[in-house]
């Protein structure tokens, strides 16, 4: 059974070709702001209907891996995260590019994306049943507590000004309330418009505040003449992956920790992909010997974000296969594809469809190898994007973002929402407000509210269960600790600054 599954992918030329196409298309979708892995899969899904089951699922898995990995390119080169999974990559990737080390940033991102995927694949192959058993233990109380813990990350993501970080975080939470409320479907802030009933799509918010606002700022800068030209300083001659073995060795601990965070959050449906990169970035910073260097362009930040977001893929596949629970919209499409092929995920999937399971594992391994190869070959070309004058490049990006927004649900409404969030992002960036907290608040807002209300209905209004349930209590304590530690850190640096002054 194991060999049958592996050989059905490995020894089938058409399957390998499709996996290659899937990976490449995924990377392209991932790196273009506005287009995502989810869209690539949604477009390819009808194509896979006529394929054999292993072949069809291999393509979709390849698109997924390519899509998540491709996001690092635009994050580093344009400061625009292609997906929520790459937000933390911008924080150090962009400063690296500004220093003229774009090639190095890309190389690090690519290699650690690959390693993160492989580590999560190992976890998936070796320990997915026990991990799925942990996921089952998570009820609404635990989910609520873990979102509270995740929200404390706002502080570490706010870089300079905590008050401003909190403000954008809360703004994100507010935007998340638009539309039908979780649980009782009450309409909030819809102003009678049917289009607002489903709220704002995460993509319109993300691409709006990062990409459109960046374009507006660049347009403004070209008027005032304060143009920053990073191409002039960029070294276009890249040797290998652009970083040394010594640098690689120094990141192994970071890789393992970030991948573990990625896998851990990946098995929790809904929280995974958008959060893991920011969490592992924050943890890497707090564990670092030189936390003050984070955000100035060091590879540690890129490693933390990119290994975590790819490790989340393996994590997400665990509840998908073992419980049939999709962690995000991309996984939901994969679930649909599996069911359509007559593969019902659940505890018996290993007995009933073992061949398909091993085919999925194999496809993941092969797709990550293809990803590494394609991105390595393409790397020298990607860096040259920086040479395209921004008055040519950015309008292009704008068009693609709008097309992507329309592609979410085939509605013009999402294009307008995109432009709206572009202006929101523009105004906030003018005031030097940090963007990642806004996305974090938006991603976690609905999950937090839904689980709080769900938990309170389970306990009939009794809040003590948040503290009496061990796992929930642990996360609340972690949240408190995280707050105290980061506030103390800020207090200390302020004191130092004052002493220096």
């Amino acid at each position: 059974m194991i060999w049958e599954g592996i050989s059905s992918v490995l020894l089938s030329p058409s399957c390998l070709i499709w996996t290659f196409i899937g990976t490449t298309v995924g990377i392209i979708f991932g790196c273009i702001p506005g287009l995502t892995a989810t869209m690539a899969i949604a477009m390819f899904l009808p194509v896979t209907y006529s394929m054999a089951s292993t072949q069809g699922i291999s393509v979709l898995i390849a698109l997924y891996i390519g899509g998540i990995s491709g996001g690092l390119i635009s994050a580093i080169l344009l400061n625009i995260p292609g997906t929520p999974a790459s937000i933390a990559t911008c924080l150090d990737g962009r400063p690296l590019a500004l220093k003229g080390e774009a090639g190095k940033a890309l190389g690090v991102g690519i290699v650690f994306s690959f390693l993160g995927t492989i580590l999560s694949l190992l976890a998936l192959v070796l320990i997915s049943p026990p991990l799925a058993a942990i996921a089952i233990k998570f009820g609404p109380f635990e989910y609520f507590s873990i979102t509270i813990f995740s929200l404390t990350l706002i502080i570490t993501l706010s870089s300079k000004n905590i008050i401003k970080g909190l403000m954008t975080g809360v703004l994100g939470l507010i935007f998340a309330t638009v539309g039908m409320a979780p649980i009782d479907s009450v309409q909030r802030y819809t102003f009678g418009s049917p289009a607002l009933k489903s709220g704002f799509d995460i993509l319109t918010v993300l691409v709006g505040v990062f990409a459109i606002s960046e374009i507006l700022l660049a347009a403004e800068a070209s008027r005032t003449g304060s143009k920053k030209n990073i191409a002039a300083t960029t070294d276009f001659k890249i040797k290998g992956f652009g970083f040394s073995f010594k640098e690689f060795k120094s990141q192994i601990g970071n890789l393992i920790r970030s991948s573990a965070i990625g896998i851990g959050l990946g098995i929790l449906p809904g929280i995974g992909s958008g959060t893991s990169n920011m969490l592992s970035y924050s943890v890497a910073r707090s564990q670092s010997k030189h936390p003050e260097k984070f955000g100035t362009g060091i590879i540690d930040g890129v490693v933390a974000s990119e290994s975590a977001n790819n490790a989340t893929i393996g994590g997400t596949v665990i509840p998908l296969l073992c419980l049939g629970i999709p962690g995000d919209s991309t996984a939901a499409l994969l679930l649909g594809a599996l069911i359509m092929k007559g593969v019902q995920p659940g505890p018996l999937i290993f007995q009933q469809n073992g061949q398909v399971v091993y085919a999925i594992y194999t496809a993941m391994a092969i797709a990550s190898l293809f990803m590494l190869a394609v991105m390595f070959i393409g790397m020298k070309g990607f860096v040259r994007i920086l040479k395209i004058p921004s008055h040519l490049l950015l309008p292009l990006v704008f068009v693609l973002c709008t097309v992507g927004a329309f592609g979410i649900n085939n509605r013009l409404f999402d294009c307008f929402a995109l432009i709206f969030f572009g202006f929101v992002g523009y105004l906030l960036q003018k005031g030097d407000y940090p963007m990642p907290p806004l996305i974090l608040g938006f991603v976690l807002g609905n999950i937090m509210e839904m689980n709080l209300r769900r938990a309170l209905s389970y306990s009939q209004g009794d809040i003590s269960e948040f503290f009496t349930r061990p796992m929930s209590c642990v996360f609340l304590i972690l949240a408190a600790l995280s707050l105290v530690v980061s506030l103390y850190g800020i207090y200390k640096t302020r004191k130092k600054d004052k002493a220096a002054a």
Partner: protein
């Protein structure tokens, strides 16, 4: 020298990507209810002249999407034009239903929906039901929904469950989602004297995990998600109290109905195809006949839906569809007030 080259490269890239996108977009379905062709009487004979668009109000990959896409695939050969499926998710399905309701009734835009149409109406997510459309036909029915508990739960039938909940008022957690069939089940069980703590449990697969994890106690499900947890077909962690459908399913004939246990709960999950009001009746009957031919006669179609969802071919013509949709609408509208206020 370099700059013009880059300019060309950049615009070529943009062009090719947007082309690729629109091309794929239209193979996945283009949404605009295009301009050409009026719904005159002539269209009855010449229809269809261009691609037809099926709008599914859920994301790709679900049951409604599956039935629509499988049918669309065969309709493409049957009608000689491509039948595209577009997914417009959101608002519990009401965003797409609103859109198609207001679309041009030119015979090229249809809504592929399910029982949620009536549920949306009754719980106020949408302020209209089937009457806002010209129904085409009913195209599928699933193999029933079942009331499920953990193996160690001290009841074996739905009647026992109701009695047990009376003895332990408010302590049994019954999962129900607003605007879904599970909420109808909760309302009916309460009406029949049950005293449950009605809680929200999320999607069907999340509710199964919550059942096994001990977070909730009772939940209703289609067979696909639960079969791996039942005795005989799976791990035996869950057991079925009864089938909630109107008749025993062909796939699982041994499971007794709720109505056979003396509990008055019976509903079916049925999938429908609807046209915007004012669509030419000739077009509707032509499409309905084409669907009938595939559903009733095509063995490949039957095999595909059986393999994926354990469903048998099911078709009701326009007249029967209207009657059934009306019954369903009335059934759920009866509880409209409770749906909107909450239990």
């Amino acid at each position: 020298m370099k700059k013009p080259f880059l300019k060309i490269l950049a615009s070529a890239l943009a062009l090719s990507i947007s082309l690729a996108l629109t091309a794929c977009g239209s193979s996945g379905g283009s949404s605009a209810p295009a301009s050409a062709g009026s719904s005159g009487s002539a269209s009855g004979t010449s229809w269809p002249e261009k691609p037809i668009n099926f709008v599914v109000p859920w994301s790709a990959g679900g049951d409604t999407d599956f039935f629509a896409r499988t049918l669309a695939k065969y309709l493409t050969t049957e009608l000689g034009v491509s039948v595209n499926v577009t997914n417009t998710a959101g608002g519990g399905g009401s965003i797409a239903s609103n859109e198609v309701k207001d679309a041009d009734p030119d015979g090229y835009t249809f809504l592929c929906f399910d029982t949620a149409l009536a549920l949306n109406h009754s719980c106020g997510i949408a302020d209209f039901g089937y009457e806002a459309f010209d129904p085409v036909c009913l195209n599928a029915k699933n193999s029933g929904e079942y009331l499920v508990v953990r193996k160690d739960f001290p009841c074996d039938t739905i009647a026992e469950l109701i009695e047990y909940s009376k003895a332990n008022p408010g302590t049994i957690k019954l999962a129900a989602n607003t605007g879904a069939t599970s909420y109808y089940v909760a309302v009916k069980l309460t009406e029949l004297g049950g005293d449950f703590n009605v809680v929200n449990g999320g999607s069907s697969s999340e509710r199964v995990a919550s059942l096994i994890g001990g977070h909730i106690d009772v939940s209703s499900h289609a067979m696909g998600v639960i079969s791996q947890y039942l005795d005989g077909t799976g791990t035996g962690e869950l057991k079925i109290l009864g089938c909630l459908a109107t008749e025993r399913s062909e796939a699982f004939p041994n499971i007794p109905l709720a109505t056979e246990q003396g509990v008055d709960i019976a509903y079916d999950m049925v999938y429908n195809i609807l046209a915007p009001k004012g669509t030419d009746p000739a077009i509707i009957s032509r499409l309905s006949e084409a669907c009938a031919k595939i559903i009733n006669e095509n063995a490949d179609y039957a095999k595909e839906i059986w393999d994926a969802y354990g469903a048998s071919p099911y078709y009701k013509n326009t007249e029967e569809a209207i009657a059934d949709l009306k019954t369903d609408d009335a059934k759920f509208m009866e509880y409209s007030e409770i749906f909107q206020k909450g239990l």
